[in-house]
Symmetry: C2
């Protein structure tokens, strides 16, 4: 069973999420301190909200939460906090979903590939190195220089595949 615990399975499988989220928040605070950037209350709360699940959330979904907790209730409140987090590598924007997800590996590979489970809606980050290399190479053959790449996969995670009795992802269902 060639299943490395690289964080993908860890995202989708049941786990101590309190611990998981708490550590990500600590890491975030630490990294920001090093950069002289301020983790203000709205920003911190926004990150906490994203960290409550491994799903991606729309800006307005985040905004509703913030508003309910006494922060501003206008779109820029959410967009600014989210943009701050993204630009500091603490959250990611998912193009396919027009939504945002907390980064679980701040600092490792800031431009990962995303694996979006269509069943449980969770989003995992996967190392994009080899994928990016393949893309860079095929582009280079046409004289195109890749500067930024969007790599997002929709599919089924191992946990959902097992639960939904989807045999294709196990051994063989014949």
């Amino acid at each position: 069973m060639p299943q490395t615990d690289d964080g993908i399975a860890a995202t989708f499988a049941p786990h101590d999420h309190q611990e998981c989220a708490h550590r990500a928040l600590d890491e975030a605070a630490e990294r920001l301190a090093g950069q002289g950037a301020r983790l203000t209350p709205v920003r911190r709360r926004t990150l906490e909200i994203l960290l409550e699940s491994h799903r991606a959330m729309g800006a307005y979904e985040v905004l509703d939460r913030l508003a309910a907790e006494g922060f501003g209730r206008q779109p820029p409140v959410a967009y600014r906090a989210l943009e701050f987090l993204v630009s500091h590598g603490l959250a990611h924007r998912l193009q396919r979903l027009n939504a945002f997800a907390a980064c679980l590996h701040p600092g490792h590979d800031h431009h990962p590939a995303f694996l979006i489970c269509r069943s449980c809606d969770k989003v995992a980050e996967a190392p994009a190195g080899p994928v990016r290399d393949a893309l860079t190479q095929v582009a280079a053959q046409g004289g195109f220089r890749v500067e930024r790449a969007t790599i997002e996969a929709l599919g089924l995670c191992a946990t959902c595949a097992a639960q939904d009795g989807d045999p294709a992802s196990a051994e063989d269902g014949a």
Copy 2:
């Protein structure tokens, strides 16, 4: 100089676009006939509009054009035609841009990678096979089964790199 004429360079370089667009339209009509699908006036015109350039166009940009030519002026008019084209493999949707581009290689690789030039805004389709393989593999290591992938690169095409005097993409500019 390992530059195959796989269509990437062909998209970005100056070329006989009349011929290029016309051929794509013919191919489209032929394919649809084979499927029993109808290339109605709005749909045909929508495809022609997309084919006028190699850029991606927003739905409302297309809609304006259609409305000016006597078709309906409400969003569904454009969205329906575009969705039809996409679902029949005659156009693609670019997630990064919330926009649509005509497919130049209907039938070949219906889920290509996209190369978007940030300078001329043109969009080329690149064979996504190797990229997709790399993605599928890294996902599989986490137990994730990829069903659909979005692969879009932003960068600089060869033509723009040469014009803008960007030496990095030529040999070396030291």
